[in-house]
Amino acid sequence: MFMDGPIGRWDVEVFLWLNGQVGRSDFLDGLIELLVSDYLIPATMAIGLLMLWFSGRDKETRYRYQIGVFVALSTMAFTSWAVQEISVVAERARPFLDHDVELLFYEATDFSFPSNSVAAVFGIAAGVFGVNRKLGIAMFGLGAVLGVSRVIAGVHYPLDVVAGAMIGPVIAVLVYQFRKIIEPLPTWFIKTARMFHLA
């Protein structure tokens, strides 16, 4: 596969350089251990979706935001499925299995390519970006931080992260189109919540 060619070699070189920064500062190592967590950035973004749901000042803006939440959540689910399928085909082992790595995370047992968590957070960010640019950009920023942290922590190669960052937004666009096909179901969901004064 392409990972055996020059791109793959560059990928490993960048990975080793980034992971080589571990151990230089206890504070930075601690910060990376926090940022790389499965729970911090993904949960923060989901909390951001809940805030977005309630934050539209008029009915039209709120409806747009709530459709964005619907797209973001659906994207997260479809992304997880797509990453599973791709990873089984790519079968790329985790970097700590093939290299001498300073690991700041637990030894994950699934495949490395593409990064599931990065794909999910970039998918959420893309869904939000479609309805609220500022929050979407902030979420892309958080996704980038997660991606770089995962490489430094020794659990992913850079290409795993780049692939994840591309898969998420692509699926978000597909989900957005799919949403139009299954209308009025998403609108009915929002209207039901509106009936109970929750949308």
Binding site: S37, I47, I181
Partner: protein
């Protein structure tokens, strides 16, 4: 339930309560706020979110594999959903008590005669907008009973008039053909 799962649910629950306070203060839905002051509500929301994050991540090592007591992606999503629903329920209950006396007229309704019960009605389609004027419990008490009394016609009207995607049109076509025999 393992202590880790309980901690995760508590973390998400408190952070979601904070997120709702911030969202409601941005949207100006005073009926959902614990304190009816925008700045105070946002400060409370930020404090709840950062407090929950600090408590969850700084008290123990949370980088745990799902094979060793952590949560896999599906469990995380389901746990988040459950905790978020709980946060919404707790928010509407607490805010309904703290805003029990909140009654503001609908904008532009000052010269409109009051209804037979001596107070304004509430349209179910107002959604969150109703919470600018009254508490959650009051809004539900005013809008839902008339809706149920007029059902199924009122419910059908409420859901009618939306754009129809290709799937809905195909399925709807089959159903109406089946009805015609």
């Amino acid at each position: 339930m393992s202590p880790f799962v309980a901690d995760y649910l508590l973390f998400v629950f408190w952070a979601c309560v904070g997120a709702i306070q911030i969202g409601a203060s941005i949207g100006r839905f005073d009926g959902l706020l614990f304190v009816r002051h925008n700045l105070a509500a946002r400060a409370l929301g930020v404090a709840l979110i950062f407090g929950a994050i600090a408590w969850f991540f700084l008290t123990e090592n949370r980088n745990i594999n799902d094979t060793e007591g952590g949560l896999d992606a599906n469990q995380q999503a389901m746990g988040f959903f459950a905790a978020a629903i709980a946060a919404v329920i707790v928010t509407v209950v607490i805010s309904s008590f703290s805003n029990a006396g909140m009654h503001r007229p609908r904008p532009g309704a000052l010269n409109v005669p009051e209804g037979p019960e001596g107070r304004e009605g509430s349209d179910p389609d107002d959604g969150l907008d109703a919470l600018r004027r009254v508490s959650y419990l009051t809004a539900v008490r005013r809008s839902l009973p008339p809706m149920w009394r007029g059902a199924p016609g009122s419910v059908a009207r409420f859901y009618s008039g939306d754009k129809e995607g290709i799937v809905f049109r195909i399925v709807g076509g089959f159903i109406s053909r089946g009805r015609r025999g």
